[in-house]
Symmetry: C2
Subunit: 513 residues, 2 copies
């Protein structure tokens, strides 16, 4: 009996017919049943060419499992097997899902669970994403470089496309296409090009080994007429989406993004997107996270198949500030998947400073949202990170690492203090962005972020009956200075007249964290 | 016969009764009639104490005028006189009014006239304001220092209160109060304290000599209980407002601001403000500009008495960007009278950087609005400019001078190119703020501002048939560099990957300005 770690991929490889078009014609699935209970999962198989078929299964329960296949091809039908699932290792937490779908709700945690993510074992997951849209469509050496860069970067989510990208700074044909064929003679969209997908298999596994969620963008508008991947028929889209879901749903580290900038694909209707989401769901027994990303028009994220908001800023100036209104509007976790990129390309979405990128991160995370980084320097080498991957050059990644480490050090029940709250710790909140613990007193841990404001001081009045340790944190210079060890009542906190300062107030003693 | 320059103040001083309360009881006016035509102006007089009465007249026409008084006091009734009005000197352009109320409209200029100001002789006036709320309530030496500072500053409009200010950093009683009395024993709001008003007379004249418009804030909420000037009865308010209008309407350099942050005076209703505006108008035969300023709730600027929008930013991040929507909403000139202040005080409205202040200026003026500066450093001496006047310490005034000089050098028909215009000079406009000439081709002079964006280049396609001189302007470092002397068609403009850059494209030859 084969042994596999919980949440890892158990792959069944079968030999069957290679006649006709097995991608289209052969039906194959397997039912996996756990000895421990009623848990039973039906998994769709997929064709790999040369008469080879795959079925990928991710066990969510430990112990013995058995499976049996069903197929329209007699060679594939009725195959049986067993596997033994060992407990997950310490670094393996399974899928990322919405907290409310993972945790036992309690009154105390209630509202926060609507807006946060957790691994399925209950471990907190705070997405700190980045963007390499077309990294798997670059030469192998660049792909390897991207992985080396990611290994030392602070990012735990990667926005990436399947189809290649044709757009500014992206005009090369990739070496491998998802379909057989070429741009000159056209593509056979009823079949798949196995080497392309084997490369994607490997890349997704490598990301998983690094603890990086692959936010897979299934469709996007940046297309070349000779490719035509953005203008396939509905039937072709569904054929492709089914294949992707069957092949990759067993990867614990994948998220589904139906589209990048869906509104730049006006030939696809809202009903199409709803239908495509149902196709993904029908072929993904693990219910991975699903969303859809906008350019100028936000998709209505109340649609029930959408698990979280994947948002691009619309206004040039108000970006991460919108997390608050998006949370209110949709009641789901909010990921600002495009807040503009650090760099100096021609367009405004790709030429903000490191300071502004980092400011948007803090502004968003303290509002209880999540941000995605990207980098677009036109003059720092042959690759541009946002599309090709390669190397990072900007000033923001180190500060995003600091931000991630800080946020992960906080109590789990921290949440944004809404703008409607008039004062916190005795100071006005209209000009600052605040977080506080929600499970305790609401004042055991208080964060106050000043952003572009650069006061020389701020007056506070601490809640009666508590004593506090006060830290002044420079989010740009990445320093934490203990200003007061044991403070109570009214006091004036000296600040350095610099932007990007964060104040942390932690209750001591009985109120301590 | 006395001689007076056009638009200057001709002051009639009369002796009358000092019995009872002449401020309240004596009616006095004078009709001024021009020999040149039907022009006839009735001007209300005002009491100055000690039996002295004043009538101030500003002639708008040259030539001979005569006047005759009417009064409830026989000593003041029937006084007659003549004056001869000489042409205005080159630096004297009269009042500032809305362009549409000054200029003969033409189809070409039409829409711009709705949103711009002109002196009454037709000279363009671009407000570049600053703020010294309580400067006339400071010791005389500070007032003198303020004037010396203003003499070398770029500002041509000053927001200033009449009543003293009681607020953070402002807790001193002034030397002079507008009413007789003192904070201990109370004030007689049925009389006025002449030394206070004589000082204001002198200060307004001094501002006028420097070409500075006094944007007089008539009421404001920053009051001390012992003063009570923000909570006078409606009758007391009207008595006060009538007096101010009668005493100052003949100053060519005054604007009326009904209130600062009117919404922080909730005991006064919208109907009160409308009524107060009518009181001002009834006592101001010269129809000076009128507006009212908000804190969190914008006054409905469609009210017909409001000549222009006097707006404070509401959102922390979107400030001068709102000029476009305010123009659309109200169809009147838009002055962002509070976009926050350069400095480092505790509150977010008073601790932005010089860079951000200057960015807001450019963002607003290129949208066809006007900005007002203020400065709030808590650690640069005993005065804070925003309230006390004194000295300026910030980095923005020099850049605002550069901005003003640049904007005044432009053709008069420049106006904002609305965000709905998709491209200009062959480039997208969504991420830049643009202006162009409206009278000519619309492409004879083009301005493109990049704000926080810091591209390494931008591609343009110039309109066919024209050749252009291209300047790259660093609005922070105040440099203008000629990038191309004679450019046409498609080209790539190199830019320095720094923020705050402005590009100017001027058509040459027959299309030249």
């Amino acid at each position: 009996m084969q042994t596999i770690e919980q949440y890892r991929i158990f792959e069944v490889v079968l030999e069957g017919t290679d006649k006709g078009n097995p991608y289209r014609d052969v039906e194959l699935s397997a039912r996996f049943t756990s000895e421990r209970g009623a848990d039973s999962v039906v998994v769709q198989g997929f064709y790999r060419g040369d008469g080879r078929y795959g079925i990928r299964f991710m066990p969510t329960l430990e112990g013995s499992w058995s499976f049996e296949t069903t197929s329209s091809d007699a060679l594939l039908d009725g195959a049986r097997g067993e596997l033994f699932v060992e407990p997950a290792q310490a670094s393996n937490h399974g899928r990322v899902l919405r907290s409310k779908d993972v945790m036992h709700t309690s009154a105390l945690f209630d509202s926060s669970l609507d807006f946060t993510f957790s691994f399925e074992d209950g471990t907190r997951f705070l997405p700190f994403g980045t963007t390499c849209y077309a990294w798997i469509n670059q030469p192998a050496a660049v792909q390897e470089q991207t992985l080396r860069t990611l290994a030392h970067a602070p990012f735990n989510k990667l926005r990436m496309c399947i189809f290649p990208k044709f757009y500014d700074y992206n005009h090369e044909d990739p070496e491998l296409f998802p379909f057989p064929g070429d741009p000159t003679d056209g593509f056979d969209r009823a079949r798949f090009n196995e080497p392309f997908w084997e490369n994607l298999d490997r890349r997704l596994s490598q990301l998983d080994e690094m603890g990086i969620q692959a936010d897979i963008i299934l469709l996007h508008p940046y297309d070349k007429p000779e490719w035509g991947f953005s203008s396939m028929s509905t039937e072709e889209d569904i054929f492709y989406l089914s294949y992707v879901a069957r092949r990759y749903a067993a990867f614990k580290n994948i998220w589904w993004s139906l589209a990048n900038e869906f509104d730049l694909m006006p030939h696809k209707t809202v009903e199409d997107w709803d239908r495509y989401a149902r196709v993904i769901m029908a072929n993904d027994p693990w219910g991975h996270l699903r969303s859809i990303h906008n350019c100028r028009t936000v998709f209505d994220h109340t649609h029930p198949w959408i698990t979280h908001v994947s948002w691009q800023r619309i206004d040039v100036r108000r970006t991460a500030e919108c997390v608050s209104e998006l949370r209110r509007a949709y009641g789901k976790p909010v990921v600002v998947d495009e807040c503009a990129y650090e760099g100096n390309i021609s367009w405004g979405w790709g030429n903000i400073s490191g300071e502004e990128m980092v400011r948007r991160f803090w502004e968003g995370v303290l509002r209880g949202g999540y941000l995605t980084h990207g980098e677009t320097f036109v003059d720092r080498g042959p690759q541009i990170w946002w599309a090709h991957g390669g190397r990072l050059h900007g000033e923001s990644p180190a500060r995003i690492a600091f931000c991630r480490e800080f946020m992960e050090s906080l109590p789990q029940d921290m949440d944004h203090v809404a703008g409607e709250v008039f004062t916190l710790a005795g100071t006005f909140t209209w000009d600052v962005t605040c977080m506080a613990d929600k499970q305790g007193s609401g004042t055991d841990c208080i964060l106050i972020y000043f952003g572009l404001s650069r006061p020389a001081y701020r007056d506070f009045v601490l809640p009666e009956g508590s004593r506090y340790a006060i830290d002044v944190i420079d989010t740009w210079n990445m320093t934490v200075e203990r200003a007061h060890e044991d403070m109570s009542g009214a006091f004036r906190l000296e600040l350095p007249s610099r932007p990007y300062m964060l104040v942390r107030m932690q209750a001591r003693g009985e109120n301590a964290l």
